[in-house]
């Protein structure tokens, strides 16, 4: 009997030399903005402008601009918040957890995924901040700042406050992690820069990096420890977000399965968003040698796994509702699937549980068009998941006379559009002025995993 070791597929194709890597990534930063980029910016800026009008109406007139009522006191705002936070999980997951597991394929995609994470978390934070009604006073409600009422402190027993700490820590640590990774690449851009202004800007951004062995040694330790810190952090964030619901006593929310279910849902939607964006970046910037079909297939496998975990969670919830014998719990779940919001439930099931199962076929998970379409379907499904959990659990509460439906207003839609405008504006700026692939990391694996002989 003999076993033959199969050589791993190269992670970087196209016979690249170190200089080619620099050239391929940095020339995108150096070239003049293309008409396509201008068009994309124009579209996202107009979304931002339209959305800004909705934000203005909301701040001027108050939260009454949203379609909330006495029964449904939380709807699109928190749905969008959880959706964006979930999307914001992929970047740090890719760069931290995959770094600890020594998964080298992360290196082609981590930079863009981390950037996406940071922008998505900002979009998420917009919703609770706007929901405070008077964001300029919100500092006192969110952070333990001394005040003239005693001081009357914030309530540390509240999951909403845990959220403040979790999201702000997650955002700032992810930002630092991302920036640390960018420093050597900014130095590469600085040393190639032709004109004074960009030399000065990238010089300042690079913090005077020169790449000495002593600095690299500290740098690698910092990256490893940050990954070690970010790994429990990324898992804690969506756990704490799920506590917003799980620690309440509302049937449909009061569920111990929520933390792992939310975390896998977050990874699911995060990877889907990474795929949506990267497939476009890869095509426009011709990065096929760095983001290979192999990368896309691996990400699709993560999508099948997390999508299936989410599917199991949906079914488990139903089983436990039946098995618990609690009538209110059973009603909440029957109402979810067969009540007036059955269509939301059906969309969620189709998009999240059925659609990703198509990736069991190798032909589909290595097909770019299929991946692109399914990644968008997954994100739609994950939005519906949050809507289903939030709205269907509260729209028929304990008192049948106050049962109600939720109808979004134009401002509800507008604020959501605002976050899309922000997200894409930020992402396009990133894609133009920052290196979209981690140049130094890719160079470090080029010799062992490139296909150059």
């Amino acid at each position: 009997m003999s076993a033959e070791s199969v050589l791993r597929e190269p992670l970087i194709t196209g016979n690249k030399t170190l200089h080619d890597v620099t050239e391929d990534i940095v020339s995108r930063v150096e070239q003049k903005p293309t008409p396509l980029w201008m068009l994309a910016m124009a579209v996202s800026l107009s979304l931002l402008a339209v959305g800004f009008y909705a934000v203005y109406l909301l701040l001027w007139n108050g939260i009454g601009e949203w379609g909330l009522n006495k029964t449904v006191g939380w709807a699109w705002d928190i749905t969008n918040f959880v959706w964006w936070v979930g999307i914001g999980h992929a970047g740090t997951l890719i760069s931290a957890i995959l770094l600890l597991f020594r998964q080298r394929w992360r290196m082609g995609i981590n930079r863009a995924a981390e950037a996406m994470t940071i922008f998505a978390v900002i979009c998420a934070a917009i919703f609770p901040i706007l929901h405070t009604g008077r964001p300029w006073l919100a500092m006192y409600w969110m952070f333990p700042l001394p005040n003239t009422f005693g001081s009357l402190w914030v309530n540390f027993s509240s999951p909403l406050l845990w959220d403040v700490f979790a999201i702000s820590t997650y955002f700032s640590v992810s930002l630092v992690f991302w920036y640390i990774g960018l420093i050597p690449d900014f130095a590469t851009i600085r040393d190639r820069a032709k004109n004074k202004i960009s030399k000065a800007i990238y010089g300042a951004l690079s913090f005077g990096w020169v790449g000495g062995a002593r600095t690299w040694s500290h740098y690698e330790t910092v990256a490893l420890i940050l990954a070690g810190l970010a790994t429990p952090l990324v898992l804690s964030v969506h756990t704490i977000v799920s506590f917003d619901f799980a620690t309440s006593v509302i049937p449909g929310w009061h569920t111990t399965i929520f933390p792992p279910y939310f975390v896998s849902g977050a990874i699911f939607s995060g990877f889907a968003m990474v795929l949506t964006l990267l497939l476009v970046v890869r095509k426009v910037y011709k990065l096929e040698d760095y983001i290979t079909i192999g990368h896309i297939e691996l990400m699709n496998i993560v999508i099948i796994i997390t999508g299936s975990i989410v599917g199991v969670a949906y079914i488990t919830e139903f089983f436990i509702a039946w098995y618990s014998g609690v009538e209110a719990e059973q009603y909440a779940f029957m109402n979810r699937a067969m009540g007036p919001y059955w269509w939301a439930y059906a969309s969620m099931m189709t998009c999240n549980v059925i659609a990703p199962q198509l990736f069991w076929f190798k032909k589909l998970r290595t097909n770019l068009a299929a991946t692109f379409v399914i990644s968008i379907i997954v994100n739609i499904g994950m939005w519906f998941e949050r809507f289903v959990i939030i709205v269907t659990s509260i729209h028929r509460d304990f008192l049948p006379s106050s049962w109600a439906m939720f109808y979004p207003t134009k401002v509800d839609v507008g604020v959501y559009v605002f976050t899309f405008g922000f997200f894409f504006t930020a992402f396009f700026l990133f894609a133009k002025f920052f290196p979209v692939i981690n140049i130094a990391e890719v160079k470090s694996i080029l010799k062992n995993t490139g296909d150059k002989k």
């Binding site: 640390i180 990096w209 790449g211 000495g212 062995a213």
Partner: protein, 175 residues
Amino acid sequence: MSNGINYVLGVYEDEDVLVKAVQKVREGGVKIEEVYSPFPVHGIDDVLGYKRSWLAIAAFMFGLCGTSLALVMQIGMMGADWPMIIGGKDYVPFPAFIPVTFEMTVLLAAFGMVGTFFVVTNLKPWGRPKIFDIRITDDKHVMAIDLDANDKSEADIKQLVQASGASEVNNKTFV
């Protein structure tokens, strides 16, 4: 020879050649000031004789500060400064303090460590880097040898560097 600090630079193309070259040059009795690379090279700190980075300890210490700060803040505010019964729980409901304590630990550990990293490696936005060769951030590894720190003659050092597998041997002077 001009005034200022004079360096001999060995330029290398390949990281494996570089690691062996560092060994050879050091065995030849030449002090290397620093080796510059476009990416982290495995094993280079061992052959250069550098100790393992101690930043992990700094991170741990900052983390401990975060844990204690979070606990003192929460117990002090909720238990001592303005005690209130919320949801029928104790004044100091310890399990409820775990999430914020965890987040503060991570926050301080991360920021403290990164801050320390910038200080010890002297990285700052207004920093004026000593750039030996602009190709370092592209595709070349450069070994910098300070002539004043070595007893050997310039010609001997250059010969040793050349023999170690350098693709170019250059001079560089910083005034």
